[in-house]
């Protein structure tokens, strides 16, 4: 007999296990099944930098959180409703986030004395009553999986055991009424050719988990989350790094210039290099350089040669590129530098997000060296932010920073696929003719944009030399003239400042138009800030929200927007970097809300911070 079905509006599931347990795969497959059902989703992988920390240890725990709902959602969720813990270490590191009454599913087989010891448990939490507050389901996942796979030939006991993540996925798929067909197709595609028996074992484990749900008395009901109402169109699930890669490929096509990526492997940016290396049929050249400096240098060389040049990295790599970016400022050549921010300083916490590179990309170079800065606000927005960064770089012949972070990079959400025809035209022209009385002056600027002509090698008659020494206005010859340096310094600054007239105004989300508190965020905190504002409004409060995606220059109406509100709250995953900029630039007495924990901000804490400010009034 089918079990009763309970309707839910929103669910947050977290899978946690050893980094060898395949939790990222389990999570991403559950996401895919869920996306196909039409729920709105938001995901957050949370994994250690160590590839394989000692099995069963606390540092080796890898997690994946998925939020899905029958309505539009903005974040992966603050706290899970359901925690799947594959071993004691996963339980220990994740239990603090599970609210009382939450559902807890554990692999009972993994709670051995040795594993308990590794996780630092003096007593077995399954037996000492410490989990009484939760709806605990102790399931011998390992035994059940190994038992189900007994008849599959060619699979070692170790391999059978490793399929337990698929058993767990099958069980969760049953519990929430997800169809496992897409996961079966995925497993066949992934293992079918090389190890068909492994594909068979994983599929069998998946189905066994599903069947276990149907028959076990452990679960009395199943749940249903109806599809969300979403704008019509074709969707796919996408991570920030993937969207950013697609945005760069799109920019190459939209500009008509070949894409050149110089990169050095670094977490969490490597996936962009790996992704782009697979699209050589788009004319994409990827160059894995000997170091971060060479990666940026090669990109500058390619820009000189007429490519759409990009270099990707994270904070520790970007500091090394600063010298080359200074050169690109002086050469006035287009270059996009992607900084996928991670927790610092120094090596910091490589897999964890932060917004702590803002002041570095604004000011971390010698001399007066302005660089436009664009920041993505969600995983799918990385696509559009990449096109915008390329547009500005090409039009204004300047290096441009594109900021993302580890949360956007690895997190995913459904993406309403844009029509290619609706994407902006970012084409540019190379100089082909002398531009002044039969001569070519490489620093004779366009009157409107102040951009200089881009004359690429191979163009007869325009041979010229550029370099890092100060340039004479118009001719580009070396100049030590004091007045000229003053002029060129101001021209470079004016060129970047002038971009303000060519970017969208700052939009404010203020549904009733009578809020007195404005929350000002930037980049990747869009989701939690918007969700926090919704909570305040749902409780009857009034609050306005604006999210900055152009940080240099700021949108031209920024000062006007800030002055419209009595109080301005600036939440950031740093100690107040945008706060410092807006206070300095606009003389506004804004206040910060700051947490630097290596985790995304939570809607709940934003809500509290807003309420605290509202109450002060």
């Amino acid at each position: 007999m089918a079990k009763p079905v309970e309707q839910l509006s929103t669910v947050i599931v977290r899978f946690a296990g050893d980094s060898g347990d395949g939790m990222q795969l389990t999570g991403s497959q559950f996401t895919s099944e869920t996306a196909l059902l039409g729920n709105d989703i938001s995901t957050l992988p949370d994994f250690p930098a160590e590839i394989r920390a000692p099995a069963g240890s606390l540092p080796g725990v890898s997690g994946f959180q998925l939020h899905f709902a029958d309505h539009d959602i903005l974040t992966p969720g603050d706290q899970p409703n359901v925690l799947v813990a594959m071993n004691p270490a996963a339980l220990k590191t994740n239990l603090r986030d599970l609210p009382n009454g939450g559902t807890l599913i554990v692999d009972a087989d993994a709670f051995t004395e040795r594993n308990l010891q590794k996780a630092g448990y003096a007593a077995n939490p399954l037996e000492d009553g410490s989990l009484d507050e939760y709806q605990l389901h102790e399931i011998p996942l390992t035994t059940l999986t190994v038992g189900a796979l007994k008849e599959i030939e060619g699979v070692t006991p170790r391999e059978a055991e490793r399929s337990k993540n698929m058993f767990a996925l099958g069980l969760m798929s049953w519990l929430y009424g997800r169809n496992v067909d897409s996961t079966i197709a995925f497993l066949e595609e992934k293992f079918g050719k090389k190890r068909p028996e492994i594909a068979a074992a994983n599929i069998k484990a998946l189905q066994a988990g599903y069947a276990f749900g149907e028959t076990t008395e452990s679960f009395a009901v199943t749940y249903e989350v109806k599809p969300a109402e979403m704008a019509p169109g074709t969707y796919r699930n996408i991570t920030g790094n993937q969207a950013l890669s697609y945005g760069l490929i799109a920019s190459s096509q939209l500009s008509g210039l070949p894409l050149f990526l110089g990169a050095y492997p670094i977490t969490p940016a490597s996936a962009i290099l790996e992704e782009l290396a697979g699209y050589k049929n788009f004319g994409v050249r990827t160059f894995q350089a000997e170091d971060e400096i060479a990666a940026a240098g090669a990109a500058v060389g390619a820009a000189f040669g007429g490519s759409l040049a990009v270099t990707t990295s994270a904070g520790p790599g970007v500091v090394l590129k600063a010298e080359t970016i200074g050169l690109a400022i002086m050469l006035e050549l287009p270059l996009v530098i992607c900084d996928i921010q991670r927790a610092g300083p120094s090596t910091g916490m490589p897999t964890k997000p932060e917004q702590t590179d803002l002041l570095m990309v604004m000011f971390g170079r010698n001399g007066e060296s302005p660089v436009p800065v664009v920041a993505a606000k969600s995983p799918s927005d990385c696509f559009h932010a990449a096109i915008e960064a390329c547009r500005i770089a090409l039009k204004y012949r300047t290096p441009v920073y594109l900021l993302s972070d580890a949360y956007l990079a690895n997190g995913s959400e459904p993406w309403l696929l844009p029509e290619v025809d609706s994407l902006p035209d970012i084409s540019t022209t190379f100089a082909t003719e002398p531009n002044f009385e039969g001569e070519f002056l490489p620093y004779l600027r366009d009157e409107q944009t102040l951009a200089r002509p881009w004359a690429v090698p191979g163009t007869p008659g325009l041979e010229h030399r550029v370099g890092g020494l100060e340039k004479a206005d118009r001719t580009g010859n070396i100049s030590y003239d004091p007045e000229n340096h003053n002029l060129m310094t101001r021209l470079r600054a004016q060129k970047v400042a002038g971009i303000a007239s060519d970017i969208p105004e700052l939009e404010v989300d203020d549904p009733d138009g009578d809020a007195t508190v404005l929350v000002l965020g930037w980049g990747g905190t869009y989701g939690p800030i918007a969700a926090g504002c919704r909570r305040v409004r749902r409780a009857g409060g009034k609050v306005a929200h604006a999210q900055i995606t152009h940080l240099n220059p700021f949108p031209r109406n920024t000062g006007e927007v800030l002055r419209r509100y009595e109080k301005v709250l600036v939440p950031e995953m740093n100690l107040g970097q945008l706060l410092k900029l807006v206070r300095a630039e606009f003389l506004v007495d804004a206040v910060g809300y700051n947490r630097v924990s290596g985790l995304p901000l939570r809607a709940g804490e934003i809500e509290q911070a807003i309420l605290a400010l509202v109450e002060q009034q």
Binding site: L36, G301, A302, P460
Partner: protein, 339 residues
């Protein structure tokens, strides 16, 4: 149109390669001779000026691009090989030259140098070696001898120097040569071979700094009688000396010693030898150890060229999967439609 290695028929003269910029090296600097040799050699290649690019880093030598009427970039300290790699890899139609010095190439840019050599990008790297920092006014460089007294080493340098050719050979360079700034004829021969080489060509040029390290190379530079220059000519036995009375031969352990020119086992130079051992052994032959120093092409082998391989991968991928279709890319993977 010529290819990037100079097989064109264009008629140019040395004058075509001069710029209107005043040359600003110290009087007597070896760079003048190298510039003059380069300007008179370039027309021979028949490559259009617009398809020739000189890239440099920082240092006295790095001013070179300003004086060549081609495309050029005077970049940042040590990074020229990296920048030139990006240019050559994305534009295989260009003839790309890197001009560098011993500090630029071997100190701050050491990493870029060795990696461009192993990749075999189609670059011609000219290292002007004067064994001193010139532009920063006289500190010791990575080729300065142990114990050398300079502004930054009043009690003598503690650093053991690099042998640039040994380093290049160890870094898997496919073309390694040496020339002397004032020896125009031999330098032109070396430049010609470097230009024709497909891949990275590394040329060390002994260059005199009259201000901070004058006469560092006097033993070969001023050697009008040819007493100390050992000219390497491919396929010929290695003989040298005023009367060609000396020769070189290899010991059983691979190292090289001096022998009489009429010795039966005289070493026959083979720059194309599969093993780098011979070129390496020759690079260890110096004035200090052997009383003579080889000049010419040490090593010249063929290996697939990085930029060609990269272009090949692009065309293979396109042949296999068709030219990229953006709409299809966006719609790849699992999608669902809401109506």
């Amino acid at each position: 149109m010529s290819d990037g290695n100079g097989n064109g028929s264009l008629k140019l003269t040395a004058k075509d390669f001069r710029t209107d910029q005043e040359v600003r090296w110290c009087p007597g600097c070896g760079d003048y001779a190298i510039l003059a040799a380069m300007q008179s050699f370039m027309p021979e290649l028949g490559i259009e000026r617009e398809r020739t690019v000189f890239v440099s880093g920082i240092g006295c030598a790095a001013r070179f691009p300003y004086y060549m009427n081609t495309y050029g970039m005077h970049s940042i300290h040590g990074r020229a090989p990296a920048i030139a790699t990006g240019l050559a890899a994305s534009r295989p139609d260009l003839s790309v030259w890197v001009v560098t010095g011993d500090g630029d190439a071997l100190s701050i840019g050491g990493n870029h140098l060795i990696h461009s050599l192993r990749r075999n990008v189609n670059l011609k790297i000219l290292l002007f070696n004067n064994k001193i920092y010139g532009l920063t006014k006289g500190q010791y460089s990575p080729t300065s001898e142990l114990g050398m007294v300079t502004k930054s080493t009043p009690m003598g340098s503690l650093d053991f120097p690099f042998n640039p050719l040994s380093l290049a050979i160890g870094a898997e360079a496919t073309f390694v040569a040496r020339a002397i700034d004032t020896d125009k004829k031999a330098m032109t021969e070396v430049l010609r071979a470097a230009a024709q080489h497909k891949g990275t060509a590394f040329v060390e040029i002994f260059q005199n700094c009259p201000i901070f390290n004058d006469d560092a190379w006097a033993f070969v530079r001023d050697d009008k009688d040819g007493v100390n220059r050992i000219y390497l000519r491919n396929g010929e036995p290695i003989r040298w000396g005023a009367e060609l009375e000396h020769g070189l031969r290899q010991r059983a352990d691979g190292s090289i010693e001096i022998c009489p020119a009429d010795a039966p086992d005289l070493l026959v130079h083979d720059s194309q030898h599969e093993s780098a051992a011979l070129a390496f052994a020759l690079s260890r032959v110096t004035q200090e150890t052997h009383g003579g120093t080889p000049v010419g092409v040490f090593r010249n082998i063929q290996r697939p060229v990085y930029d060609e391989l990269m272009a090949e991968q692009l065309s293979t991928a396109t042949a296999k999967r068709g030219a990229g279709d953006l709409a299809a890319l966006l719609h790849s993977g699992e999608t669902w439609t809401i109506s």
